[in-house]
């Protein structure tokens, strides 16, 4: 009995609550990144290696617009629109010629794009990190911490974007086209849906989601040319754990993994807490290779 009560006393409850909030906040940003990736994979059959670089590019565009206009919300909007147009152009120039080829070609092409974008960012903006100022500076008391409202706002915004997108998929005209294309590409084309443009549109939407999450993350972690790879790796883990091409699974997996990493960071160094998500990935591959949050295939 004594040992048990000692064990419960050893758990820092205040820390756990703080880390739960932190985990949900990063989890929702990650969910926004990963749902763009899942969307592009589920509909175009493209593993978008450049997704992290679109995230990074979005953050840079946001940082530039915020610095020149002073308005965070304008930066968020401008970044989403500019990166969406850029993504559409990328899809038309590089991915459209590859439709019908082995999907492995698309991972190679998007890898090439990510190299170019990353080096362009380093060359253009330099190696020094930039910061996007927080739009809201109010705090609230969470145990001994002054917890910024901004973080809560990010989580709500990410959830709102994902929710709005889900509603659009369900009820919007283009959303119905997207779902039809993902179910049966040839039949959709036969029904008069412009499938190549659906692909371009989906890629643009995924890019916009990556850019928006980049701007939202900007005030938390700083903007640098290497931020893309970290995020794309995390998003890949999330997408594999959640089940490839499964939107709901990816969102659940994003929050799950971020929470685990946040709890692990109580006892471990943050750079080692990443290993927790690797372990989740390995366990998933061992026991549920189709994904942790999908029904068992029959």
């Amino acid at each position: 009995m004594d040992a048990i009560s000692h064990f419960f006393h050893a758990i820092p409850f205040d820390l756990i609550v703080i880390q739960t909030v932190n985990g949900i906040v990063t989890g929702l940003i990650l969910a926004l990144v990963a749902s763009g990736l899942t969307l592009i994979f589920g509909i175009l059959d493209v593993v978008n290696f450049a997704h992290g670089e679109l995230f990074m590019l979005g953050a840079y565009v946001g940082a530039l617009v915020v610095a020149s206009t002073g308005s965070f919300w304008l930066g968020l909007l401008a970044s989403a629109i500019i990166v969406a147009i850029f993504g559409a152009a990328l899809q038309i120039v590089t991915l459209r010629p590859l439709i019908g080829r082995d999907p492995l070609n698309t991972i190679l092409v998007t890898f090439g794009i990510s190299l170019i974008l990353q080096n362009y960012a380093l060359w253009q903006f330099g190696p020094i990190e930039r910061k996007i100022p927080e739009p809201i500076e109010a705090h609230f008391q969470l145990f001994y911490l002054q917890y910024p409202w901004y973080r809560v706002l990010i989580a709500a915004l990410s959830a709102a974007i994902i929710g709005g997108f889900w509603l659009y998929l369900k009820y919007g005209k283009f959303g119905v086209w997207i779902r039809a294309t993902s179910q049966d590409r040839i039949m959709a084309q036969a029904m008069g849906i412009p499938v190549p443009w659906v692909f371009t549109g989906v890629f643009a939407m995924g890019s916009a989601m990556a850019a928006a999450s980049g701007v939202l993350f900007g005030p938390l972690g700083g903007v640098s040319h290497t931020m893309g790879l970290d995020w794309v790796l995390k998003a890949f883990i999330v997408v594999v754990v959640g089940g490839m091409g499964n939107l709901g699974g990816s969102i659940a997996a994003a929050i799950f993994i971020s929470l685990l990493e946040a709890y692990a960071a109580i006892w471990l160094d943050p750079s080692q807490a990443v290993i927790v998500s690797f372990v989740v990935l390995i366990l998933t591959l061992l026991f549920r290779p189709t994904g942790l949050f999908v029904a068992t295939p029959k």
Partner: protein
């Protein structure tokens, strides 16, 4: 993607030289050039050529997976890096540093990593395989980067170069020329081994997995076991490249375990032509030469990966077979 040379029809007029003779004459000419090269080249280009051969070996090891088994690995930096750190460990622990012990330790390290990656990631196919190899290589990177007492963390390990020694026969310091010959010997032996392997019944099974995995399984081959062995072999040769790189440069650094190395390996393969074994070496040479040329023309700060990345994308779209793709059938005969 058809390569299997099953065409048994006899040409009407017999060519002057058989295919085998032409192949080996070509092989000897290239070997003669590579053996003589360090005697003619200045120090910088001698080292440059040696490094191309090492990168070529790394890319060639990955070609066994990409071009023959049909699995794209984005995690070869792990095997390369473990080879590097294994060699570093042997050279630091044992004194005087011994070349063959470094090879042994490096290969053991790479084999350990390869076994781990092979066991887990062969459960998945195609892009899923590519993504999981990438994530696994990142695990090794994080471990090496954070385990400072053993791996030196961010700074890596520095050591002295072992002597080029053949027990009881020969013992001398490496010069850049003998280093080149040593690397050339290892790379050539690896090429001949891999060429023989891909033409053996084992290699045929690997190629049949690439062409149609379900059918290969239906015929009765244990596909998963073949895949594990091919990842293991590929990892071993990548580790060998890591050992050579460590000996050439006398350091082991976490940067080489990072994803960039894996990415470069894939680029060398695509540029040179997958499924040819020599193509990746040509790809590595092409990439490194372009890089050197660009940084000489525009200065060291020039982001050479922007034009090279563009060349890479254009090649995937318009020249998916790579530079040596036209000779693919011929080289595999």
């Amino acid at each position: 993607m058809t390569t299997a040379p099953l065409d048994k029809s006899v040409p009407l007029s017999k060519p002057l030289l058989s295919h085998t003779a032409v192949f080996w004459i070509g092989f000897c000419v290239v070997m003669a050039i590579l053996i003589a090269a360090p005697l003619a080249l200045p120090e910088f280009w001698r080292r440059f050529l040696t490094e191309i051969l090492i990168w070529g070996l790394l890319a060639m090891s990955s070609d066994l997976l990409i071009g023959y088994t049909g699995m794209v690995s984005f995690g070869h930096s792990a095997f390369f890096g473990l080879g590097m750190y294994g060699a570093a460990g042997a050279l630091l622990i044992h004194s005087p540093p011994n070349l063959w012990l470094a090879l042994l330790f490096g290969l053991a390290g790479a084999a350990g990593a390869a076994l781990f990656v092979a066991y887990f990631s062969t459960r998945l196919r195609d892009i899923y395989f590519a993504i999981t190899t990438l994530i696994f290589s990142q695990i090794f990177y994080v471990i090496i980067f954070t385990w400072t007492p053993v791996t030196g963390g961010e700074n890596g390990l520095i050591f002295t170069r072992p002597h080029l020694s053949i027990p009881f026969l020969y013992d001398a310091r490496f010069t850049s020329t003998t280093m080149h010959w040593f690397v050339l010997a290892v790379v050539t032996a690896s090429y001949l081994f891999l060429r023989r392997l891909t033409q053996s019944p084992f290699g045929m099974v690997l190629q049949s997995i690439r062409e149609n995995e379900a059918r290969t399984r239906a015929i009765g081959f244990a596909v998963k076991r073949y895949k594990i062995v091919s990842v293991l072999l590929s990892g071993l040769f990548a580790g060998l490249a890591g050992v050579l790189y460590a000996i050439q440069n006398q350091f082991a650094a976490p940067d080489f375990v990072y994803f960039i190395t894996s990415g470069d390996t894939v680029i060398f393969n695509v540029m040179g032509g997958v499924g040819t074994l020599v193509g990746p070496i040509v790809g590595a040479g092409f990439f490194q030469l372009m890089r050197e040329l660009l940084s000489r023309l525009f200065g060291d700060q020039f982001p050479y990966l922007i034009p090279l990345g563009a060349v890479f994308i254009v090649m995937i779209i318009f020249l998916p077979q790579g530079l040596l793709g036209f000779a693919r059938r011929w080289l595999n005969r």
